[in-house]
């Protein structure tokens, strides 16, 4: 009898080409996504006088630097140069490009799944930590740095050591108004921002199975905020239904054959994990972050910590510094924290379901603060417009923009001004993440909408009364 295997074991063994004595393995990479920020890697490849190994498995998607107001030419010369340089690198290496003017353009981690490029059972890499998103499909997907991007360009392989395995089980049923983002933040608060360091995570349990593909992407996306190398949800009928008919997914007979193979990508019943964590999904409330790391996350009816009540001096020091940066008095109720603006977007929460969730709260209401809505892809944008969601955002007073990483990382010019407080659907509340001196509170799209109409952090649940969420 073979040893029972986890999903992680199965995906690893199907891609291992070489195993060295010290544990390093050469693994095959099925998909490689590159973006404007990948320029160091192209330079490294050129410096070696090498060419791309598998252009057909490499896809370029412009997202990090693209302006979300598509005036041409791009006003900022440095940003224009980044986009141009990317287009030139893609052309030179014969890489299919979803560029600025492509109707399929969007955020890498939205476009890959949307186009059916991301499939179960694949190894997927990209020079971006949130590549873990693609694990929602049962793919082994992880972020890498520029040197590794260069290695994949030149060889379509990577030297990796198999990570330890961790299973996070969330059972029960999430309450109305509680979504994938709340589950993700609850997990991060529970294990800590480096709690899953060195581990590949498999998410399982009823509450995870109950999530849509969009929800699973949000969850796997934030594996990295728990310190994990990657996150995986085993594929099921929802996964297959999502992929069927997508432009780059297997078609006709090959699709049925693929589903047969994909159906085996589950952890065997007796497979053992290096670590097991479980949470009660029914006990999770809408969550917001208050501090400067993603594990500073609390249910919305709570209050921020008071350093004076903290016994551990190192922790008390951290609390003082975080509250000072965030300009929040110790012990303040979360719902008393006034905000200056909102942002709905990013690879975490910018898919159609996210926009619908925010619009369900905003419909017929007005935002008390300015805000930006950047759909995850140009495709999502068109779909939202067909559904009339753009009208709801505009009528509420928010700006409806084009697709890109935008105000999550702030390198395309969309930033939160210094000292301003933003309720954001993004993934990192680090100091200065959304711009120097910016103060970020992470939460779900519905909770951002609730904050917008309240002008402060707010519980979305009463605002959903009598509405279809």
């Amino acid at each position: 009898m073979n040893e029972p295997q986890t999903v992680i074991d199965k995906l690893w063994s199907s891609h291992e080409i070489v195993r060295r004595e010290d544990g390093a393995c050469l693994v095959w990479i099925d998909r490689h996504y590159v973006h404007e920020g990948s320029f160091h890697a192209f330079s490294q490849m050129k410096a070696r006088g090498r060419a791309i190994a598998e252009p057909g498995l490499t896809f370029g998607i412009a997202d990090h630097y693209v302006p979300t107001r598509r005036a041409e030419p791009i006003a900022n010369p440095e940003i224009a140069a980044m986009v141009r340089n990317f287009e030139a690198n893609a052309a030179e290496s014969d890489i299919m490009l979803f560029g600025l003017r492509d109707p399929r353009q969007g955020i890498v981690h939205v476009v890959g799944p949307e186009q059916g490029l991301t499939l179960p059972g694949l190894t997927i890499v990209c020079g971006d930590s949130h590549t873990s998103t693609h694990g929602a499909f049962g793919a082994y997907a992880f972020g890498i740095g520029a040197s590794e991007v260069a290695h994949v360009l030149m060889t379509q392989t990577l030297w990796q050591k198999k990570p330890k395995s961790m299973r996070i089980t969330v059972n029960g049923t999430a309450a109305p108004g509680v979504g994938a983002k709340d589950i993700a933040l609850a997990i991060i608060a529970h294990v800590g921002a480096d709690g899953a360091r060195g581990h590949a995570i498999e998410f399982s349990g009823n509450a995870i199975r109950g999530l849509s593909m969009e929800g699973r992407m949000t969850l796997c996306n934030m594996s990295i905020e728990a310190g994990g190398r990657l996150g995986i949800v085993a594929p099921d009928k929802k996964t297959f239904a999502y992929l069927k008919g997508r432009p780059f997914a297997p078609n006709a007979d090959l699709f049925d054959r693929a589903v047969e193979a994909w159906s085996t990508i589950v952890s065997d019943p007796d497979a053992s994990f290096d670590r097991e964590v479980s949470l009660d999904g029914g006990a999770i409330a809408p969550i917001v972050t208050w501090g400067t790391t993603p594990d500073d996350a609390l249910p919305i009816d709570g209050q921020v910590p008071d350093p004076a009540c903290e016994a551990d001096p190192a922790r008390a020091k951290y609390l003082r510094e975080a509250l000072d940066y965030m300009a929040i008095e110790p012990g303040k109720k979360l719902t008393e924290i006034a905000i200056d603006r909102v942002f709905i977007g990013s690879c975490t929460n910018s898919r159609i379901e996210d926009l619908r969730a925010a619009a369900a709260v905003l419909a017929g209401r007005v935002s008390k603060v300015p805000g930006l809505v950047s759909p995850g892809s140009s495709t999502v944008k068109r779909q939202a417009e067909e559904e009339g969601l753009d009208r709801i955002f505009r009528d509420a007073g928010l700006e409806w923009a084009d697709s890109g990483c935008s105000m999550c990382v702030g390198i395309n010019g969309d930033i939160v001004p210094p000292g301003e407080r933003c309720a954001s659907t993004t993934n990192r509340n680090f100091r200065g993440r959304q711009g120097p001196g910016a103060r970020t509170h992470l939460m779900s799209p519905a909770m951002v909408a609730a904050a917008a109409v309240s002008g402060r952090l707010a519980d979305v649940r009463p605002l959903l009364a009598g509405r279809k969420a």
């Binding site: 520029a146 379509q156 997914a249 990382v409 100091r431």
Partner: protein
């Protein structure tokens, strides 16, 4: 890649926990080419105050720590974004070794590819080392990768590093060169895999076999 044997240098006890890559190198410098050198903007938003003046209380601004090649940091150093430019900024500033109780996974991978040693020591040990160098900044700290020890004052501390990373640093291995030795194995895998998993190729692929 240059081999890493041992290093004797000044060590700066920065000691802050959770210094993620956004703190090491703010995103607005990510478009700088490597040739420009990123050392001058390392820890930019921690190093400068709101008016762009150097903060006196930030250790790397103090003359005592000029020329240090070892950084002593708190736990979870380099978490967050996969930006390898965070490693470039540390290297360009002159660092050869970061000592911390733990590192972000992607950061640690990026570090080794650039010859930067990430040495893991316990919270207690690093506090002792930091205390010694805080009293005497000029005292060199010795890091020996072959023996996996740090010598500071009259004490020797063992450190952890992933054996794969250790091998790569000690031997100065270059991944791309190593992979060259396996060209045939890769081709064989690729051919077999195409038969095994025909569905794995993108349907609209322009891939020619």
């Amino acid at each position: 890649m240059e081999k890493f044997g041992q290093l004797s240098a000044k060590a700066c006890p920065l000691m802050l926990p959770n210094l993620n890559t956004d703190q090491i190198l703010p995103a607005r410098y990510l478009k700088w080419p490597r040739s420009k050198g990123l050392g001058s903007v390392l820890f930019q938003d921690l190093r400068l105050d709101g008016n762009g003046n150097e903060r006196e209380d930030f250790l790397l601004n103090q003359p005592s720590w000029h020329g240090c090649k070892i950084l002593l940091a708190g736990r979870n150093f380099g978490g967050g974004s996969s930006r390898e430019a965070a490693v470039y900024a540390l290297c360009d500033h002159g660092f050869r070794c970061i000592v911390a109780p733990s590192f972000g996974d992607i950061f640690a991978q990026n570090a080794v590819k650039n010859g930067l040693l990430t040495a893991v020591v316990s919270e207690g040990d690093i506090a002792e080392i930091a205390a010694v160098v805080s009293r005497d900044p000029e005292r060199p700290v010795l890091v020996n990768l072959v023996q996996q020890v740090i010598v500071c004052g009259n004490r020797t501390y063992a450190f952890d590093i992933d054996p794969v990373s250790r091998n790569q640093l000690v031997n100065g291995w270059d991944d791309v060169d190593l992979t060259e030795n396996y060209r045939e194995r890769i081709s064989k895998f690729r051919a077999g895999d195409e038969i095994q998993r025909p569905w794995a190729a993108p349907a609209k692929s322009r891939r020619k076999s």
